[in-house]
Amino acid sequence: MSLLHLVVLAPFLLAILIPFLYKKFRHIHTGWFVLGLPLVLFIYFLTFLPEISGGGAVQETVPWIPSLGIDFTVFVDGLGLLFALLITGIGTLVVLYSIYYIANKKDEPLNNFYVYLLMFMGAMLGVVLSDNLMVVYVFWETTSLASMLLIGYWFHKERSRYGAQKSMLITVFGGFSMLAGFTLLYVMTETFSIREIIAQTDVIASHELFLPAMLLILLGAFTKSAQFPFHIWLPDAMEAPTPVSAYLHSATMVKAGIYLVARMTPVFGGEPQWFWLLSGFGIFTLLWGSVSAVRQKDLKAILAFSTISQLGMIMTLLGLGSAAVHFDLANGETLYTTAILAAVFHLINHATFKGSLFMVVGIVDHETGTRDIRNLGGLMTLMPITATAALIGTFSMAGLPPFNGFLSKEMFFTGVLNATTLDLFNMQTWGLIFPVIAWIASIFTFAYCMIMFFKTFTGKHQPEKLKKQAHEAPMGMLIGPVILASLVVVFGLFPNVLSYSIIEPVMRSILPSLVSDGGEFYVNIYHWHGPNTELMMTIGVVIFGSLVYLNLKRWQEAAFFLKERDPLNWLYDNSLVWLIDGATWVNDLQLTGRLRDYMAYMFVFFAGFMAWGLFYFDAIAIDLENTAPISTYIFVLVAVLILATISIPFINHRITAIIVVGVIGFLLALLFVVFRAPDLALTQLLVETVMVVMFLLVFYHLPELKKESFKPTMKISNLAISIAVGVFASLTALSAHAFSYENPVDAISNYFIENAYTLAGGNNMVNVILVDFRGLDTLLEVLVLAIAALGIVVLVKYTAKGRENL
């Protein structure tokens, strides 16, 4: 257990203390107890920067379930560190923000909130800092769980519960497939360590399970990172308190899928399927998200779809960039790595501007009581600081200079344009689609950014539509968005602050061949590339985007704009309905409550089992030779037995039926005599007599037997089932009989015959067996009788009163 492990587990440890702190210091906002932790962790992770920038990596291992290949290995490299910094850095700001956002009211369950939040923070750190896939998985599911709990934080609201359930179902579905994918990797490589798997990539690439493993892992990544068509959970996740949306559903958790894809790029990157799936789903998500965002009226919903779209963009870039793995980088083919570079850079940028925007929206919501853009407007003068942060955020997101969003958007265009020149994976034919879709999506992105800013902060102020008197937020709430907004500017002006310290090591994690091939690699981000295609595209985006925005009024009445909800929700909602209906149908089909049905299913199965076994294993055999001779009187006895048996179903008189069954019992006793079993005969006689008497006593009071009123089909199926049971049970018996003569074994019974007298001192072998050789059976048999007797007493005497039934 090293310090690093402690760091990952620290949020969990603090989470355990939170309920006590909440109870004990009720008047202090619980958030203050939490705030220090992410800050300390952030600073701690900053100390790793020099080493990681220098190309190093830190690793500590604690065995967890070593026999299953699961070790808790904390591994800090560029990629992990970047995420750890995001998690703790934004975490600090979010906690601070939340202290002001969620007031410490009397029955506000702040303890729950911070326990979930810490649980999430620890889990997320675990995801990005673990080298072992199973540990990644464990933390991954924990983030899903924490996310579900946070979405349902205000669980009295129907929408919260709906959103929580949806996010849980979709992300856990992805999680389970990811688990399967990881396990397949384990089956191929016999290790869960990511680095050991990377080392074996060449060996496993041709394995038949390689592709399924890839698909399953991608399912995990796509669901978590809200890629089409799994993105539908994210808009509903906005029911969570806004700090949570800022933290989980834009900056960190939804990027776990991105992280996973980046992490697995060295393993799967060389495959065309990987390339196509990532870039295809990514670019479609980009388009879908940005188009959907334009028609939203709720600020948070705009941000949700915007997040979806931006995640799609990063996914696309990672997909396109994976082509880099396919090339020999030492030959200077760094062209394709631009895409990965753009992905990493945009990941950071997105966290900054989207984080700040969420907080801004939270402030607007908090101070005005609404997030509906139809009710908002003219807040610029009332909330100048908030408006500035919003301006920076939205313009950066729209891809305008001098903000960081501009830089990464330009690089994104470079990436997609490069893709058209790729001469592998059939890119020649399809390549042009990428820049075109990217460009269209960017236009919509520009449009919704403008909607967000101008509809909220400019135009006419409508105080009558607001629930509260709008004014600037308190200082504490502004710190978060202001810091993030300033980062947007700083990274925009001086992108190379990031280049050498963090982006380069991240690139090395995603494309390890960069270093192993000894090729020179360094990142440099420029503002000005000259009047190239990318710049033209950006200018086009601004022009068309403005057109879209300006013509919004004209389009707002269109059916497309009126429907805010994603059409895919229809599929999700109905699948749940179908699932429940289908399940009910299957259930009702079986659990009818009719004993007859239960028995019928069971006997069909029983007879079918035997029939199948007899034929499949070729077991049917009848041995006519090794049988005892038939004597006439036995023959008569058996004939009577059969006749009596067959007559029973036809008897409609209860006493007669009971007596005939009794007669069969007595015939049995006779047969026992004939077959040299005197003790049995005696017992049978006794038991049968008592039984018949009991029957008569009990059923004397029961109504007369009625003729069975089954439908004819039912009757025939009953008959068929009965005959099948009899036939196959007999066939099995006959075959067993034949088998025993064909393959004779030493039966243990000879031992009893030989030793009954000498060892046990009795002449009646059956009795000796009963009381001595198998005394336990007899003891238990007595116990059974005793239980039955006692049970009958209880059954008759005891009736539960009232409702103590628990």
């Binding site: 669980f155 299957v586 079986q590 076994g613 070729d618 074994v745 243990i748 239980i787 006692l790």
Partner: protein, 493 residues
């Protein structure tokens, strides 16, 4: 030393008899019961420990050498199952003290309880097929009484079906023994293993194996033989449902595990059938849970679904799979009973087990809510709890043996399990506070949760500190998958 094996059977048997006579004196009965359960637990734990250090222990009753007399066999599997069952018995007793009214306790409840335990422990420990039948009967008859006592209207009609179906399967058991005895001429399970191996598991022996699969399939509630279970388990008091849900089907699973590793271990077709049945059982079972809105009903059908996982594992039939089955078995006994207890505690608060009639319990009873949440996600296989580890081991085993499809089914089942458990959580524990009666808010359930806490700790420990338990399971699986260990210890060859 070998006499240790009989203690877990003898203790509840004798004390059960004594409890008949102390029936009217409740405090005496309760004290004796707790002491008995603890003694059972102690002896079983010690037995497990001794078996772990010294190897399989066989006791020839009356000193009649195997295979002629009856032997009791304590191997890792049977002894540890007895230990876990005893643990459950202790927990259940404390829950019973809280929830039962005196009338019920005085209706010879405790004797039946311990006779049931006699049957359960005996079924685990016996090494003789016919003796297994007898122990089954002891167990079943006790369960018949426990499930029907009280005599509510619906309880009686459901119990009746339960009793009839189980009686029929017991009679089929006799038929099965008749077939098997005709072919092998022996009843001792170790000897059966030898004989079946000598004969080569061919022809009619496979048919007999299928007959036994039917018999044990009924006991373990496999599809399509589980119909006796879901409705009847809703009727008796929850403490009894918890005990039954935790134990009875698991006895069936144990016998399947034992039979198809020790005796009928040569036919790949039968293993395939087990996999198919396992997959069907888990999926169809969970569909039942998805469609229901009654707390106890959901839990009852989950029993069925979870049995599917274990049967699938037995069908996969590798060392890792068996280890997974064992892990899952232990996990399930613990968690399933805990969940039933929660259903009971919830019902105590609200007076109903219908989910839609209550909501917002998390606000009024946070401890109940969160402890339930832990058990629920453990059942659904969310890490890092025991359910996850059990499921994960099975997944690894399934993939290693190339059973991809059934593993996919098991994962889908896991998701639906989560769905149905979260349905309980979100419908009843979340939402506006709305309880059937106003005073429900103040009902204290701390004393009901207390007996569940040890079970919860167990599920957490089984998940977080899985390594030693998994090592143990592997060792156990090693013992199971190589029947010669068992055979040699019993037949002393």
């Amino acid at each position: 030393m070998n006499n240790l094996v009989i203690l877990p059977i003898l203790i509840p048997f004798l004390m059960g008899v004594i409890l008949i006579f102390t029936n009217k004196r409740l405090s005496v009965s309760r004290t004796i019961s707790v002491l008995t359960a603890l003694a059972m637990l102690a002896s079983a734990s010690y037995l497990t420990y001794v078996v772990y250090t010294d190897g399989i222990m066989a006791l020839e009753l009356g000193n009649w050498e195997a295979p002629f007399g009856i032997v009791l066999v304590g191997d890792l599997l049977s002894s540890s199952l007895v230990a876990v069952s005893s643990l459950l018995a202790v927990s259940t007793l404390f829950f019973i003290f809280q929830t039962f009214d005196e009338e019920r306790e005085k209706a010879y409840f405790y004797p039946f309880f311990f006779f049931l335990m006699t049957g359960v422990n005996g079924s685990f420990l016996t090494g003789d097929l016919f003796n297994l039948f007898v122990f089954f009967e002891v167990m079943l008859l006790s369960s018949f009484i426990l499930i029907s006592m009280g005599g509510k209207k619906s309880q009686l009609s459901e119990s009746l079906k339960y009793v009839i179906i189980n009686t029929v399967s017991s009679l089929v058991f006799i038929i099965g023994i008749a077939y098997l005895y005709a072919v092998t001429g022996t009843l001792n399970m170790a000897d059966l293993s030898v004989k079946v191996a000598e004969l080569g598991q061919e022809g009619v022996l496979n048919v007999i194996a299928l007959v036994f699969l039917f018999i044990f399939g009924v006991k373990s509630a496999l599809f399509p033989l589980y119909y006796w279970l879901p409705k009847s388990y809703v009727e008796p008091p929850t403490a009894i449902a918890a005990l039954f849900g935790g134990l009875l089907t698991k006895v069936g699973v144990y016998t399947i595990l034992r039979t198809y590793t020790l005796i009928f271990n040569q036919s790949s077709e039968i293993y395939f059938i087990l996999i198919v049945l396992g997959g069907l059982t888990m999926f169809i079972g969970v569909l039942g849970a998805v469609s229901q809105f009654d707390f106890k009903r959901i839990l009852s059908v989950h029993i069925v679904s979870q049995v599917g996982y274990m049967i699938m594992g037995i069908g996969i039939n590798s060392t890792i799979a068996i280890a997974g089955v064992f892990y899952f078995l232990i996990h399930n006994i613990i968690v399933k009973s805990a969940l039933f207890f929660f259903a009971g505690a919830t019902e105590k608060v609200t007076g109903t087990s219908h989910l839609k009639k209550m909501s917002g319990l998390l606000k009024t009873h946070p401890y109940l809510g969160w402890t339930f949440f832990i058990a629920a996600i453990s059942l659904a296989g969310i890490p890092p709890l025991s359910g996850f580890v059990g499921k994960f081991i099975l997944i690894v085993a399934g993939f290693m043996e190339g059973n991809y499809f059934v593993i996919a089914v098991s994962l889908a089942t896991g998701l639906l399990t989560l769905f149905s458990m979260m349905k309980i959580f979100m419908t009843s524990f979340w939402g506006e506070v709305k309880l059937p009666k106003p005073e429900a808010e103040n009902v204290k359930v701390g004393s009901l949760i207390a007996p569940i806490v040890p079970l919860l700790i167990f599920t957490i420990v089984l998940g977080v500190a899985a390594e030693p338990f998994y090592q143990f399971s592997l060792e156990l699986a090693e013992q199971i998958i190589n029947p010669e260990h068992y055979v040699n210890s019993v037949l002393k060859e």
